[in-house]
Subunit: 254 residues, 2 copies
């Protein structure tokens, strides 16, 4: 199918690569920043455009993959388009597209960085559509991209997105804080990498509740106090240490 991408960020990049891989014809990549459009367009053999009036009106699918706050503005400019219009946002309701004839949502529950390759076939995709015909088309598109396609309404998708913020963005920030703590003491973040990998691996077949370890789950106040003492010069780490230790204790009913 002939596909137009609107957006050229991390999500757009990996989605466009997946569409290309699945054999679709990527006609255009639009971005207000022509350099960004060109960068992605070059990777998927598309034409880069930075003027929305230049969009091909005859594509089968338009993938709007821009920041959440820009979606509604971009969508208003897509007049005269007859193809299936999709957005890729977890926290934006499908209703933002309801002015169009055929529309839907294709939300990939994954963390994408332009510079990091991944196996798109394993990315869970959540679909929602404005009508039955669009849903059938969207599902067929999605199953061509990934082995994990689920239906989810806008409310479920927002919950999934918040869940993703906790298990990905906040987790990555804890990695970052761990890295900073080590570096401040002339220790290398490399030393934490096996632990990070194992922590993620453990919950692939277990639930996190059952595999928790460390001072808080043992209610080991001596160690917690010793850590808090060391963190007292860094109020941010100290607050995070306290709130998450309390959360673990609460979960494990101390």
């Amino acid at each position: 199918m002939k596909v137009v991408f609107i957006g050229s960020g991390n999500v757009a990049t990996h989605m466009a690569l997946a569409f290309k891989e699945a054999g679709h014809n990527l006609a255009q990549v639009f971005s207000r920043n022509l350099n960004h459009a060109q960068e992605l367009a070059a990777r998927v053999d598309a034409i880069a455009v930075d003027d929305i009036a230049q969009l091909d009106k005859l594509a089968d699918v338009y993938v709007v993959s821009v920041s959440d706050s820009a979606i509604s503005e971009v969508v208003q400019e897509l007049n005269g388009i007859g193809g299936l219009i999709l957005h890729t946002s977890g926290s934006t309701a499908i209703s933002v597209l309801s002015g169009y004839n055929k529309y839907g949502v294709l939300y990939p529950l994954q963390t994408f960085s332009k510079s990091v390759n991944l196996t798109f076939k394993e990315v869970p995709l959540f679909v929602e559509a404005g009508d039955e015909a669009s849903l059938i088309l969207l599902k067929s598109l999605a199953t061509g991209l990934s082995d994990k396609v689920y239906e989810a309404n806008s409310e479920q998708r927002r919950t999934l997105h918040i869940g993703a913020v906790f298990v990905c963005n906040f987790v990555n920030q804890l990695y970052q804080l761990g890295a900073e703590l080590l570096e401040a003491n002339q220790l290398d973040f490399e030393m934490l990498r096996p632990l990070i990998m194992e922590t993620a691996r453990k919950v692939q077949h277990e639930c996190p509740l059952r595999v928790q370890t460390g001072p808080a789950v043992r209610n080991d106040q001596v160690t917690i106090d010793s850590h808090m003492e060391l963190l007292k010069t860094t109020p941010e780490l100290s607050s995070i240490y306290q709130i998450l230790s309390n959360s673990i204790k609460k979960t494990h009913q101390y």
Copy 2:
């Protein structure tokens, strides 16, 4: 070498299995709870004891792997022992063992659950010893167990332990909170597993700072507000959302 284990928890279990695997003779496993001692003893062909007076006085190595708060008490009961005495704690200084002749610390920087197997050869081990002869013996022991052996003093080890709490225990708690959030909305934690794995995988060759994604690093206040609105009925999630979003913004200088 003839090795005695004091303790039978998660760390003791995986350490004892690693010693066994490396060809050592595990003479005894001590625990105040005989069932626990027997459970581990059976896995490593050792004799289970629950009376510290029954400890074999002639072993080469004694591994004290009990909770941090119990170490100093247990250590006081090891009179008349001539072998190398080790503890395995991140946050306990080596000085707790200084009443003995040969002593050291063998700290594995990993998360261990009895029920979850792992490749011990990849576990970073941090060693510290009371004297040069003990250090040589300890290093030789450690390199038989793992390919990643580092020297670290008690202060560095405590920093590593706090780092581990951030990137492992707190991370696992975020997995748990994500799971609870999904389950409260009839969604399956399974949907988050590929994201969890990818988030850990991404930082194996990159630093976390460079691969952060999500609303906070984009300073996307519309999405953050929409998430906070949904979380307002769960004060704990709401506080964690706020503190970690602010931390991300601070790291990325918004």
